[in-house]
């Protein structure tokens, strides 16, 4: 299944990134994983958070351009060659990867967050090749050790 990634547009200005983490922190939203892409003028912050809908609402309230994007989290083992195997499947299906980063976890296995050119087709070929993807709940709650 696909999961919701929270994406935020950030100008390259002092304190903008900090403002994002401040807002999420104040509302007890955990950032499970993130990637920050930068250009000379702006950056794009992509995050897997414990509550993406609420995160988006809060950031928009703060005046940020924030949106939810569908991505997949493919589970792989922490050993040499596993990432290559996943990409081979994607590439052989004629799909391209828009961006990806890891949903970091300690231990034997991890997940790759991926935005592919055709997400449903990517899911299809990965499942057909025996790969598992995280459910939304799984992804949002990963790395979240807050006592509830």
């Amino acid at each position: 299944m696909v999961i919701k990634q929270l994406s935020v547009f950030l100008e390259n200005k002092e304190g903008r990134l900090e403002r994002v983490t401040e807002v999420l922190s104040a509302h007890n939203i955990n950032i499970a994983s993130f990637s920050l892409a930068d250009t000379s003028e702006y950056g794009l912050l992509r995050m897997i958070v414990s509550d993406p809908e609420e995160g988006k609402r809060l950031l928009k309230e703060e005046g940020f351009s924030a949106k939810l994007t569908d991505v997949i989290a493919v589970k792989i083992l922490q050993k040499p060659g596993t990432l290559h195997e996943v990409l081979k499947v994607i590439s052989e299906a004629g799909l391209s990867v828009e961006y990806m980063y890891t949903l970091a976890t300690a231990g034997k296995s991890t997940s790759i967050i991926m935005k592919a050119s055709n997400l449903s087709r990517a899911l299809e070929v990965l499942t057909a090749n025996g790969y598992q993807v995280c459910t939304d709940k799984e992804a949002y709650e990963i790395n979240n050790y807050v006592e509830k």
């Binding site: 250009t39 351009s65 949106k67 961006y99």
Partner: protein, 432 residues
């Protein structure tokens, strides 16, 4: 040298008589051939016979850039199309360009005026001049070109865009004069200096215009290139370059009053200013056939003097410009109105009309940056998409303005909203 001593050195009485005679003829002609002016004059209750001479100039209606827009493209032309031999165009305040047309005689007058300017700068038949204004719809390139040919100088029509080639030819051809914007000339000078070629340059005169500049810039240009730099002024609505220019004394720009009558008015009250008082420069063309204009408001702020100049010319002189009474910017010699940016952005579905223009000068070249907000509806979290959007917007702006534009995406709601008069421009260029 003084190219046309009879016209450039007339007594004030002779000039007034000449202007009055030409004005009467022109008012009569325009009244009968341009509906726009006939209607205006009728509304004001004046007839051609009421204009007996220069003293009656104030009775005529003003003309503004919006009159040209409202009658776009040819509504103010006073002759049939068959008599128009050339069209030029400059920036309008919105999407539509300001269009002007020239008859064969208009082109001759234009040549004559530019020739006077070049002769005033000491240029003659033994000179080789590079015209490095843009050629095309902009009047700069062709205006200087025809004037220099008329003078008999050897013209090298460089146009703009390739500084290296310009410098190579300047050196190889032993070019002695150049016409371009002052900021471009400074850029050229620095490029020559960096290449260590200053001693190979033979320039003796530069004709600079199409943008405001200062005495400090003139000194810098003259020091670097060991030449004399002269100021040329013009606007396509009246003629193009060659409406006025300064002589070696640099005590203001001599206006070719036998073709254009200058007035200085208070831009608020529209009343005439006293001699020496700063106000808005207004021109009435008195020999133009294609598109004669009554009291055209240039929006340029200056003052006027009728004293005879040390050079011997008696023509009225306007002082260095002190700014504008509207929000027009001159960027790399091109006129740019913030309203043009707004109109262009409205054409791009993915943007909002909230923008900020930042003008700066880097290495003596003007840079225009336009900041636009990233809005929810067109925000993508893929850099590729955002870059495509940036390119699309800069392409639209470039075709609307005629100059390259750097587009920067900024966060939503960070640009001040229009509450009355929003600040849309930050001009960081320092003219000192």
């Amino acid at each position: 040298m003084i190219w046309n001593e009879a016209k450039e050195c007339m007594s004030r009485d002779e000039m007034t008589n000449l202007q009055s005679a030409r004005l009467r003829k022109m008012v009569n002609r325009v009244y009968h051939s341009v509906e726009h002016y006939r209607r205006k004059m009728q509304q004001m209750g004046i007839e051609p016979g009421d204009i007996k001479g220069v003293e009656d100039l104030g009775k005529l209606p003003f003309t503004t850039k919006s009159d040209l827009r409202d009658t776009y493209p040819f509504g103010l032309f006073a002759v049939p199309q068959s008599e128009i031999v050339r069209i030029h165009a400059s920036s309008g305040t919105t999407g539509k360009a300001t269009v002007v047309g020239y008859t064969r005689k208009d082109i001759e007058i234009w040549q004559e005026c530019v020739t006077r300017v070049l002769a005033m700068a000491g240029i003659g038949i033994n000179d080789k001049i590079q015209v490095a204004y843009g050629y095309g719809l902009f009047t700069g390139g062709l205006g200087l070109h025809y004037g220099a040919e008329n003078l008999g100088a050897t013209v090298v029509p460089m146009s703009t865009g390739n500084t290296q080639r310009l410098i190579t030819m300047m050196e190889d051809f032993e070019v002695t004069a150049i016409a371009c914007t002052p900021s471009y000339l400074l850029h050229i000078a620095e490029t020559i200096q960096e290449a260590g070629k200053l001693d190979k340059i033979r320039l003796k005169a530069a004709i600079c215009g199409a943008e405001p500049w200062t005495d400090n810039m003139r000194n810098e240009i003259e020091d670097k290139l060991h030449l004399k730099a002269y100021d040329i002024y013009g606007l396509s609505e009246i003629l193009g370059p060659g409406v006025a220019a300064d002589c070696e004394y640099h005590k203001g720009l001599h206006v070719y009053e036998d073709h254009f009558i200058p007035e200085i008015i208070n831009p608020e009250t529209l009343e005439p200013c006293k001699e020496g008082e700063t106000g808005e420069l207004v021109f009435t063309t008195i020999t133009k056939e294609g598109i004669p204009l009554f009291r055209y408001r240039t929006r340029d702020l200056t003052s006027i003097s009728y004293d005879k100049c040390e050079c011997g010319r008696t023509l009225a002189r306007i002082s260095r410009f002190k700014g504008r009474s509207d929000d027009m910017l001159i960027i790399r010699g091109v006129n740019v109105f913030p309203s043009q940016v707004e109109a262009a952005l409205l054409e791009v579905a993915e943007t909002s009309p909230h923008y900020m223009m930042i003008v700066d000068r880097v290495n003596n070249l003007d840079i225009l940056e336009v900041q636009v907000e990233v809005e929810e509806r067109f925000f993508s979290d893929e850099i590729r998409e955002l870059e495509m959007l940036t390119k699309k917007i800069s392409h639209v702006l470039q075709s609307a303005l005629g100059i390259s534009v750097k587009v920067t995406l900024v966060e939503p709601k960070t640009i001040a909203r229009s509450e009355g008069k929003a600040k849309r421009v930050i001009d960081k260029r320092k003219l000192v």
